[in-house]
């Protein structure tokens, strides 16, 4: 089927986002809330299948392909843009709002891409938009973090592009469909996707760049890049075994680094890697139940992670502090921020009656159904670890622990409303998961609310919490950061560069000295002969002149006689 009018729903946010800087304050709120609503409508209005085909060289582009997976991700991206716009509209700069909407729109563009070239174009717009969001925070550290972020993503983009070209050469088709990483082309495409998912070894970009953005910027950033990568993995590489160990590494990397971390938003950034790790494992398992789990988890995750970062962003906005060592006791004067932060923390920990409970359990259940004993054991341990590193650690160190003495009020209304909206969604999805289950890519035959599941999950989480308080002394916050792979490009290569500069400039100085010495000797030689006392510059006595003239005259006389 083909319709001349079909355009990617992502374009609504991209083009609308470019209008934001020119709108008045009132119009801007209308755009910020209206554009995502319009996009959501378009996402559900478009019928299934490829809606637009464009010939391109010898190939066919399908810029608008509507699928169940794409719709699910585009839906939550639209909801996220709506709540993010509400959260940001009074505090964020116009540049940030505009860039965030272009970024969100290009993420939606990826979810509707039917061919690899369209996907790549939106993928790169996403990298640029998100970099501008990081830069909008202003300041040197945001500028540098944004630049590092951009370089990582451009590198990932280049790998992806090479993979796409190789794939087209090998198969003659640009279609974006399920692949296996069994050729160099598909392996490069997989690596390109994994860079954006925060997979090792380049996981550090998430915790490096996201916490440098503004309070609202981090909320936008947490949602789109990594989850778009989850979408492309879900469609492109379902059941690729290599994703299971990669995902497990990400799960525990996130937990360990979050436990070591002192910056509250960086804790939550590490926890993004942890959560995406669960989804990557599920995609690697690849059964319909596991893929449903990855999709449902991504949907729920975007909402509760944004909620957590909205809560953290409110704290940053009202106190100007971001380190756990400076925070504490804020529940007394910021009760609304604390309650919403706790709801987000419970949801990420998959507490019963929250969105995490009904989504993440699909993934662990899928591992059990496939008889993957070790994967299941590690995922259960990691579920307990999520409560430990995000579920308790974040609210405890920000809102409780020691009393910092600060008494800032709750944030302005628009921030509070955005938090309430997402808290509502976290609990509503937990209590009533059927609407989410209904839009998953495969039919769902799973009942999350059994007595056994409730009891075991509560035991797991409560005893994880007990471990937290028993070992609280071991987790005393320190004014530290943790070395990661970014050490190589932030320190190692820099030091090598410094060393190289130092040594080459020393060598150059020595060479210059030698040449100067040579020139000096030459000058000295000339001086000996041509200087004021040199043989050739001496003044001649009058007597010798007369003798020489007489000799010359005598000589010419002689010649004359001859």
């Amino acid at each position: 089927m083909m319709s001349e009018l079909a355009l990617s729903p992502g374009l609504i946010l991209i083009l609308g986002g470019l209008l934001i800087p020119f709108a008045s304050a009132r119009q801007r709120l209308g755009l910020l809330l209206g554009l995502p609503a319009l996009t959501l409508g378009a996402v559900w209005w478009l019928p299934d299948g490829s809606l637009l085909t464009l010939p391109f060289l010898d190939y066919v582009l399908e810029p608008v392909r509507s699928t169940a997976e794409g719709r699910l991700f585009a839906t939550v991206f639209s909801i996220m843009a709506f709540a993010g716009g509400l959260y940001a509209h009074r505090q964020a700069s116009r540049t940030e709002l505009s860039a965030a909407f272009v970024y969100a729109g290009s993420a939606i563009g990826v979810t509707f891409a039917g061919d690899l070239l369209t996907l790549f174009v939106f993928w790169e717009i996403m990298a640029l938009g998100s970099t501008v969001v990081v830069w909008s925070a202003g300041g040197v550290s945001a500028y540098r973090a944004g630049l590092r972020y951009l370089l990582v993503h451009l590198l990932g983009g280049v790998v992806l592009m090479v993979g796409i070209v190789a794939q087209v050469v090998e198969t003659g088709s640009l279609a974006f469909q399920a692949m296996q990483p069994d050729s160099l082309a598909t392996q490069l495409i997989l690596i390109g996707f994994l860079v954006n998912a925060g997979a090792p070894p380049l996981s550090a970009w998430i915790a490096d760049a996201y916490p440098e953005a503004s309070p609202s910027g981090t909320v936008f950033l947490s949602a789109f890049t990594t989850k778009t990568a989850v979408f492309t993995l879900l469609v492109g590489f379902p059941g690729a075994d290599v994703l299971i160990p990669i995902g497990l590494y990400m799960v525990f990397y996130g937990i360990i680094y979050a436990l070591l971390e002192n910056d509250m938003r960086r804790i939550l950034a590490y926890s993004i890697v942890n959560q995406v790790g669960f989804m990557v494992v599920a995609i690697g398992i690849g059964t319909p139940m596991a893929l449903n789990g990855a999709a449902a988890h991504a949907f729920a995750h975007i909402i509760y992670k944004a909620l957590l970062l909205m809560s953290a962003g409110s704290v940053l906005l009202m106190t100007g502090k971001r380190k756990c060592t400076d925070l504490g006791g804020l529940f007394q004067s910021m009760p609304i921020t604390a309650i919403n932060g706790i709801i987000g923390a419970l949801a990420i920990s998959a507490f019963p009656f929250t969105s995490g409970f009904i989504s993440k359990s699909l993934e662990t259940q899928a591992a059990a159904d496939q008889g993957l004993l070790w994967v299941w054991m590690l995922l259960v341990a990691a579920s307990a670890g999520v409560f430990l590193h995000a579920g308790i650690k974040f609210p405890w160190f920000v809102f409780f622990q020691k009393d910092s003495g600060m008494r800032p009020p709750d944030p302005p209304t628009n921030l509070r409303n955005a938090m309430w909206l997402f808290s509502f969604l976290c609990i509503a999805l937990g209590l009533y998961p059927q609407p989410l289950y209904a839009i998953l890519p495969y039919p769902v035959d799973y009942q999350p609310y059994t007595i056994e599941h409730l009891v075991t999950q509560l035991q797991l989480l409560l005893f994880a919490g007990f471990a937290f308080f028993v070992m609280l002394k071991q987790m005393r916050r320190t004014l530290t950061i943790s070395l990661d792979f970014d050490w190589f490009y932030r320190k190692f290569f820099k030091e090598i560069g410094k060393e190289f500069t130092g040594r080459t400039s020393a060598a150059r100085a020595a060479q210059e000295q030698r040449m100067l010495g040579k020139a000096q000797r030459l000058i000295d030689n000339l001086y000996v002969h041509h200087g004021p006392r040199g043989v050739l510059a001496r003044s001649w006595p009058l007597g010798s002149m007369v003798i020489w003239v007489a000799a010359l005259l005598g000589f010419s006389l002689l010649l004359y006689y001859l």
Binding site: Q332, V380, A381, A384, G405, E452, L462, I481, S482
Partner: protein, 99 residues
């Protein structure tokens, strides 16, 4: 809930005006409440029957008494210990990358 405590907090906290969570005499009570909640969570072990997931592989630990409780506790304790050990090698002052 709100107190008019000065921002600096003071070296000798005024116990009477602090929030009850921060009063030292309430600390034992908080521990008792936590242990009671944990015991309450273990209570259903008496009548809930667990289904083992991996019986065909000869693994039935997950159906044992309080598996999720001790496994959750031990894995978290293990992760905290692991983080502590890795922290020795990985932690740097937070001005490490600044010039």
């Amino acid at each position: 809930m709100k107190t008019s405590q000065p921002v600096s907090g003071g070296e000798k906290p005024d116990q009477g005006r602090r929030h009850w969570l921060y009063r030292t005499e309430n600390l034992p009570k908080l521990w008792v409440i936590q242990i009671l909640v944990l015991l309450l969570a273990l209570l259903p072990e008496a009548f809930v029957h667990h289904h083992p997931h991996f019986l065909d592989q000869g693994f039935a630990l997950d159906a044992g008494l309080g598996f999720y409780a001790w496994y959750g506790f031990l894995s978290c304790a293990g992760m905290v210990a692991l983080a502590k050990v890795l922290g020795i090698f990985l932690k740097r002052k937070d001005t490490y990358y600044d010039e």
